[in-house]
């Protein structure tokens, strides 16, 4: 883990220095949110579909043990190797073990947020294995040595000019050429060669079906398929919450996933992987990494229903204006802010506060996670566990004292307003964050209570 990260508010301040770019970032993601609205509003039973999905996941979370055992049994019967990883480290060791066994030093990977969560690329690089991310967005951020800023749109923080520059440096494209067609073509050639020469492909998992032992990977570019079909070894990594009970439940989730994510009716590819083809080896790594702990936190358990569509990020007015990197966590945005404190409360203590609690996230969530309520609850936990700053504790203490004592509140208010009217500098100064970009309210001579006593009280 990184030792020093910039807090969300500080990182947002940096991001907001480029005003035009913030506007562009906001509009770009709002466009995605609008597409999602159109897609959702075209399905008459959309809200019913959301409740159904939420209830199915509820059943999964309540019977996790049984479904995991069923899934493992069926996957083994299909000829798949099943591995269990308690945490990120064990996950990374298992993956490296498979790679090392085959004596390979280069592999392809297709979008897996779990491997980001586990920092697999770093681990493998330290162990002499080169990983090429094959999805275009992932590849762009990988070339730039950046983490993805969004779980579905990893390079959404970049403009085509940025991509042109990155490709010029790393892939030798013409300097200054930002034509999307040209750049995509360059990436395609670069990746095509990689696909043909790599023996091992790693993919993520969107849904794992307990009933059949198969797993489903949803992509638009088809790179997961290309990687898995060309390689001798396919490794699929999944958090245990990816389970669904039966195949028929895919009918609910596949209708929700792409509509929520990008406004498409369905992803271009929804590929089912059940058994290795002749001569191929297939591995599934099932990862806990804090999920059992979260499952045990009653208030936060439902966060594990997440199907990683990213809708909460696209709708979040804070995310749209702070960018994914400001969340310093593999999963950014509102959902990241309720998952991250479970992984490392000290490091992620700022995230549940990076929200106005507007509630839009909970409304777009296809599995109806009560995201904004959980943000509120995490705030209470974080303060109780002692992660609030001293100045905040003192401020809240003083506020509590004032507001719990009517006489002090009344006098304090009167004195405060007098100062604001007569010596405005006491509040209109650089130490007051409100005043930096906003005028203070004009204090009236009389509070409402004083008016009431003078005019109404008989």
């Amino acid at each position: 883990m990184e030792s020093k990260v910039l807090e969300h508010s500080k990182a947002s301040e940096v991001f907001n220095k480029d005003k035009e770019r913030v506007g562009w970032h906001d509009e770009t993601l709002w466009f995605v949110r609008s597409k999602r609205d159109k897609a959702a509003h075209n399905i008459p039973d959309w809200e019913l579909l959301r409740s159904t999905a939420s209830n199915i996941k509820h059943n999964v979370l309540s019977n996790m043990h049984d479904y995991l055992v069923e899934f493992e049994k069926n996957a083994l019967a299909n000829g798949v190797h099943v591995h269990w990883a308690a945490d990120a480290e064990e996950h990374n060791k298992i993956v490296h073990g498979i790679i090392a066994k085959h004596g390979v030093t280069r592999m392809v990977k297709s979008k897996s947020m779990l491997t980001e969560e586990c920092h697999l690329n770093d681990y493998l690089a330290k162990n002499g294995v080169e990983v090429i991310d094959t999805d275009l967005g992932e590849r762009i951020v990988q070339l730039r040595d950046e983490p993805p800023s969004h779980i579905v749109l990893p390079a959404i923080h970049l403009k085509k000019e940025d991509v042109g520059e990155t490709f010029h440096i790393h892939l030798g494209t013409e300097k200054g050429n930002k034509d999307p067609q040209y750049l995509t073509e360059a990436a395609r050639h670069h990746l095509r060669e990689t696909f043909l020469t790599r023996k091992i492909a790693l993919t993520g998992v969107n849904f794992a079906v307990a009933q059949t032992g198969e797993f489903v990977v949803c992509t638009n570019e088809g790179n997961a398929d290309m990687g898995a079909h060309l390689a001798d070894v396919h490794i699929a990594c999944m958090g245990f919450e990816k389970l669904i009970p039966r195949r028929e439940h895919l009918g609910v989730f596949l209708r929700l996933l792409a509509r929520s994510a990008t406004g498409q009716p369905i992803t271009t590819y929804s590929s089912h992987f059940k058994k290795p083809r002749e001569g191929q080896e297939m591995h599934i790594v099932i990862v806990d990494n804090g999920r059992s702990t979260q499952l045990g936190r009653e208030d936060f358990r439902n966060s594990l229903k997440c199907i990683r569509c990213g809708a909460c990020m696209n709708t979040c007015p804070v995310y749209r204006r702070s960018g994914g990197h400001s969340y310093h966590n593999a999963v950014a945005g509102p959902i990241g802010s309720i998952l991250a404190p479970n992984l490392d409360m000290r490091k992620n203590a700022d995230l549940p506060f990076a929200s106005t609690l507007c509630g839009s996230c909970s409304n777009v969530c296809p599995v109806k996670i009560d995201i904004h309520d959980q943000l509120y609850k995490w705030r209470q936990v974080i303060v109780k566990e002692g992660y609030a700053t001293t100045s905040k504790k003192l401020g809240m203490g003083a506020m509590t004292f004032t507001l719990s004592n009517p006489a002090i509140y009344q006098t304090g208010g009167k004195v405060g307003r007098w100062f604001m009217r007569n010596i405005p500098f006491v509040v209109n100064n650089g130490l007051n964050p409100w005043f930096k970009n906003r005028e203070m309210p004009e204090p009236p001579k009389e509070s409402f209570r004083e008016w009431y006593l003078n005019n109404k009280k008989s």
Binding site: S12, T356, K384, W434, N437
Partner: protein, 246 residues
């Protein structure tokens, strides 16, 4: 009908005219309105900052001040929601529970309890409605753009009864303004940017006034408008609905 008037602390201190407008409006509509004198704050600033465990004093005071009324009415969706969701006191839980059920935000009280259909109000101006999140998504005062569900809006239902009022359509009709309680200072950069973007949406529609049910959001937008020396003004919905009563 005995109504307890619950005035948010910042309205009491900075915007007394909203308290006056609310009181006059309710009296005009036939309510017997009382303002309990020792009320302070609902406790939300502490609770939303993670210090809900410090709100016991505020909760006790609230029960002391507001027990026994038929209804408790507040010109703020946010403060109303906080009481509805978080007012508890171990020793007086029954009283707390009664209050939680009887507390209403002003516009929903007008549409749902008083069933106002013909307001004698007049406001000859071009107005944009800022739909505050806690009122909308918390109290369900209006349909939310995220959901696939039929349209309704309690504040709009009332504003449509105001003569000569020209209500504009915004391009993002229910986006948060970025006030967010202590968020407005702890996340200053984002808060201000969100506010600036909201203001621009209204300005693009050439409004003269931005109105809404929560003065906290409007205070934030007002701070930005005044800093930008914009001619656009903010006005609480109670002031518009009460606009001919003097």
């Amino acid at each position: 009908m005995r109504v307890g008037l619950f005035i948010p602390c910042y309205v009491d201190q900075f915007y007394p005219q909203i308290g006056v407008a609310t009181l006059e409006l309710l009296e005009k509509l036939g309510c017997e309105v009382h303002f309990p004198l020792n009320q302070t704050c609902c406790g939300q600033p502490m609770a939303n900052s993670g210090f809900e465990h410090l709100t016991g004093g505020c909760n006790s005071l609230f029960i002391d001040n507001f027990e026994g009324f038929d209804y408790i009415v507040c010109p703020s969706g946010s403060c109303t929601l906080h009481i509805k969701e978080h007012l508890h006191e171990e020793k007086r839980e029954e009283k707390a529970s009664t209050i939680r059920k009887r507390v209403y935000e002003l516009t929903e009280f007008l549409t749902d309890v008083l069933k106002v259909e013909n307001l004698e109000a007049n406001f000859p101006h071009r107005v944009g409605l800022h739909q505050s999140c806690h009122g909308q998504r918390g109290l369900k005062l209006a349909q939310m753009s995220e959901l696939n569900a039929p349209f309704f809006s309690k504040p709009e239902q009332l504003l449509k009864q105001v003569k000569q009022l020209d209500l504009v359509s915004l391009s993002r009709k229910d986006e948060c303004c970025g006030f967010g309680g202590t968020f407005c200072v702890t996340e200053e950069a984002i808060s201000v940017r969100m506010g600036q973007d909201r203001v621009k949406d209204h300005e693009d529609k050439n409004v003269e006034f931005i109105t809404g049910g929560d003065m906290s959001c409007l205070m934030h937008l007002e701070g930005i408008l005044r800093r930008q020396q914009s001619p656009v003004k903010v006005i609480h919905i109670a002031e518009i609905l009460n606009s001919t009563v003097k």
